[in-house]
């Protein structure tokens, strides 16, 4: 029955989306090359302030140069891996950390939301802190988390650098989940709450049968936001804690080659974009089995 609802034009719409996505990427490439072609070589400045970037090959390498650089070895050293492979490996490392941070953040956010939905007092006390927590600059937080973590030993498990990064990623990820899930948990209509009351069931049964399912349409966008936040948090925390192996550190390292090998610093940026896309796809996949909880969105 759900298929019936989706069937008309679903296939053509999917094809249309793909075409549009490809056109978007090509559009960015065309814009880049067009500006590089037409823009002044030294850019444009108003007084001290540069308002248009330089278009030299050093500042804006050709798209095809960047692509070609990906196929070349990482360094001149013998046995060095090809650049795209190195970026891919770094991307996978960061992906693992981001996913770990996302999972922790989602659970923390959900727990906070359930607690706030259960106790009005908790909502009034905790929600301002949750909002406040996001105003702490990440750069200030990263060294603190690392130094706290290094003093932690969990039984036989030693605290590792990537864990600090995951914690920072989760710190950014939990926020949209906490806020979105809280709204979702509070979303059921009075009629549904009344109905559960007439059934004489307790708060937990109402949570499982009514509030959690009703929160899904609010939760899915929150999970997407959390994923994006986890990626940003991972990349930034890799830079600020100096964790090697990930895309964040690679961006920092490759920035040194800006003058000698101008196409190289763009490779890890591409990796970071890819990382974001993969995480977004993972969350989108999560929404598929939850589709029936989103029926309220299409209902009359």
């Amino acid at each position: 029955m759900r298929a019936v609802r989706l069937a008309p034009g679903a296939g053509t719409r999917r094809a249309g989306e793909v075409t549009l996505g490809v056109a978007g990427v090509l559009g960015v490439v065309a814009l880049w090359e067009l500006y590089k072609l037409l823009g002044p070589d030294a850019g444009a400045s108003v007084g001290e302030l540069r308002v248009l970037p330089r278009t030299s090959d050093l500042a804006m390498p050709h798209v095809w140069d960047m692509a070609a650089r990906l196929a070349e070895p990482l360094t001149a050293a013998p046995g060095a891996p090809v650049l795209w492979l190195a970026v891919l490996r770094a991307g996978l490392t960061s992906l693992g950390i981001a996913v770990a941070g996302w999972v922790v953040g989602v659970w923390v956010g959900l727990a906070l939301a359930v607690g706030m939905a259960r106790f009005t007092l908790a909502e009034r006390a905790v929600l301002p802190l949750v909002v406040l927590s996001q105003t702490v600059p990440l750069i200030a937080l990263a060294p603190l988390v690392r130094s706290w973590g290094s003093r932690l030993t969990l039984g036989t498990l030693a605290w590792e650098g990537w864990m600090s990064v995951a914690v920072i990623a989760s710190y950014l990820a939990f926020f949209p989940v906490a806020v979105g899930a809280l709204r979702g948990l509070q979303s059921p209509d009075a009629i549904h709450r009344d109905l559960m009351r007439t059934y004489g069931v307790g708060w937990w049964a109402t949570l499982v049968r009514l509030r959690l399912p009703a929160s899904v349409p609010y939760l899915l966008p929150a999970l997407r936001l959390a994923a994006a936040n986890a990626v940003v948090g991972t990349v930034v925390a890799e830079v600020s804690t100096g964790l090697p192996g990930g895309v964040g550190r690679m961006i920092l390292e490759f920035a040194n080659f800006a003058s000698s090998d101008p196409a190289k610093p763009w490779a890890p940026l591409l990796g970071a974009v890819l990382l974001g896309l993969v995480v977004a796809a993972l969350v989108a996949a999560l929404g598929v089995p939850l589709a029936r909880f989103r029926r309220a969105e299409v209902a009359a």
């Binding site: 009344d194 109905l195 009351r197 007439t198 059934y199 004489g200 049964a205 029926r295 209902a299």
Partner: protein
């Protein structure tokens, strides 16, 4: 279908079998300064198996009274018993089923799963739930739609699912708050006939809130007429149209007579000009 045991008319006198007993109930909303008396000193007895409608203009407290009986709200003064228990005990014992103006189905559950919801919450096994839901959907004529989702049904069909859900646990009391209020007239009349049939089978007492005089008369053994500011019962009209109600009844002289009597009671006197029936 054989005539049910329910005797129409003044069932109250039959003593022992009392479904709902409302005694001197008041409900005041707000604080001292801005207090509004939604209900003032209301007393009402509904016999077992009796169909009682509450009718009156907006703000007369008919829905408030229903919510008090359902223990969705507490009275400021007075007492309410349901089958000899307090309203809260009755609610926790699942003594009644309830239906609202909106169907209030859970959109992520299929029709069958919606009907099964109260059974699932109260620990009925999977096989028992399924059998019961199939039977109920048969009863309301939606057997073919068990696998559909609520948003695939019309408003009338959704309301029928809600009624099936309300009687899922075979309650001996059914509380209905304008369940057909949002439906078109034709759907409404068809569901009224269906409700009469369902009630004859389940023999449940019904407290039915409505603002339609024909609906109240068609369905009820007694019509309780209320008036606002403060909400109170102004009169009770015995309808007594017999148990075998069908669409033919709507053109019966006795039916028109009962409609006239309810309308006169609503307008607080006998000198009512014979204009439109609706009192919305």
């Amino acid at each position: 279908m054989s005539a049910p045991a329910t005797v129409p008319g003044p069932v109250v006198a039959h003593g022992a079998a009392v479904a709902v007993e409302v005694h001197g109930v008041s409900r005041v909303f707000g604080r001292d300064g801005t207090a509004v008396a939604a209900l003032q000193d209301v007393s009402l007895t509904v016999g077992a198996g009796e169909f009682v409608s509450l009718i009156g203009p907006s703000g007369c407290g008919k829905s408030t009274l229903l919510r008090l009986v359902a223990d969705l709200d507490r009275p400021t003064a007075g007492s309410i018993t349901v089958f000899g228990r307090s309203a809260e005990q009755a609610r926790l014992a699942h003594d009644y089923g309830i239906a609202f103006q909106q169907a209030g189905l859970l959109p992520w559950r299929t029709v069958r799963a919606n009907v099964e919801l109260p059974l699932a919450l109260h620990g009925v096994g999977r096989a028992g739930r399924r059998a019961r839901a199939d039977h109920l959907l048969e009863l309301v004529g939606l057997a073919d739609f068990a696998g559909h989702f609520p948003d695939q049904l019309s408003g009338g069909m959704q309301q029928r699912v809600a009624i099936a859900r309300a009687i899922a646990e075979e309650p001996s009391l059914l509380l209905m708050d304008e369940p057909f209020g949002a439906l078109d007239e034709m759907t409404r009349e068809r569901l009224q006939v269906e409700l009469v049939r369902v009630c004859a089978q389940t023999r449940a007492a019904v407290v039915f809130v409505t603002h339609s005089i024909p609906e109240a008369v068609f369905l009820s053994d007694r019509v309780v007429v209320m008036s606002p500011r403060p909400g109170r019962i102004t009169s009770v009209v015995d309808v007594g149209l017999g148990a075998a109600r069908g669409d033919g009844l709507r053109e019966d002289a006795a039916y028109f007579d009962a409609v006239r009597r309810v309308r006169e009671a609503l307008h607080g006197g006998s000198d009512v000009p014979s204009r439109g029936v609706e009192t919305r």
